[in-house]
């Protein structure tokens, strides 16, 4: 079964550094998402992306965050200047077209900001 893949699985960075989290969505999916989960807390929506533009974003997704689909397969999340509170598990997800299409999640990238 096709799956969403994310790299790296774990990223450690210093406060103020830029990080790029990478995702390869399922190949025939057109809708892409980033979620994050701070340890022990709920799954929080960050942003959705369709047709090369952001469809929806949360208040968490401020100017420090950006997303890009640089080619036909990758979908990236960039954090320009990381803060300690950005430490979390970041999940990429994708789905097919249609109201009954569930999100398919990747295994996540654990980001640790020191």
């Amino acid at each position: 079964e096709p799956e969403v893949t994310q790299t790296p699985s774990h990223q450690v960075t210093q406060m103020g550094q830029e990080v790029i989290l990478r995702c390869v969505p399922i190949s025939n999916h057109l809708y892409f998402y980033w979620y994050r989960q701070i340890l022990g807390q709920k799954v929080e929506f960050l942003v959705s992306f369709y047709n090369n533009e952001i469809s929806e974003k949360s208040e968490i997704f401020d100017d420090q965050f950006s997303v890009e689909r640089p080619d036909g397969s990758n979908f990236t999340l960039k954090i320009r200047s990381t803060k300690l509170e950005d430490s979390a598990m970041y999940f990429c997800a994708s789905r097919a077209t249609g109201v009954n299409s569930p999100l398919h999640f990747g295994n996540g990238t654990r980001l640790t900001v020191t």
């Binding site: 809708y31 998402y33 709920k42 799954v43 929506f45 959705s48 369709y50 469809s55 929806e56 999940f91 997800a93 789905r95 077209t97 249609g98 109201v99 009954n100 299409s101 569930p102 999100l103 398919h104 999640f105 990747g106 295994n107 996540g108």
Partner: protein, 117 residues
Amino acid sequence: AQSVSQHNHHVILSEAASLELGCNYSYGGTVNLFWYVQYPGQHLQLLLKYFSGDPLVKGIKGFEAEFIKSKFSFNLRKPSVQWSDTAEYFCAMPWEMFSGGYNKLIFGAGTRLAVHP
């Protein structure tokens, strides 16, 4: 406003016990609902989904959920749990659906289930 709530934050059961995890939603329109499971250290996996039709939905690994519109609920059930069901369970619903689907899936706070042998 649309919301999903899960009131049981932690549930502890013995193997073979029956399970029911609560999920309530707030929304006046057409409702689509999902249950996801997150095993320790893993990603979110779809357990089951409800879109229309039979309100009793069967999913993977022996789970089922019943959509009760009058109660705004979509509770997850399993007649006999196993140690391997230890995980966190999330109820979710799409936010503002359109013909292509939805731009956001909102999650409940999750219920941590621990099953003891």
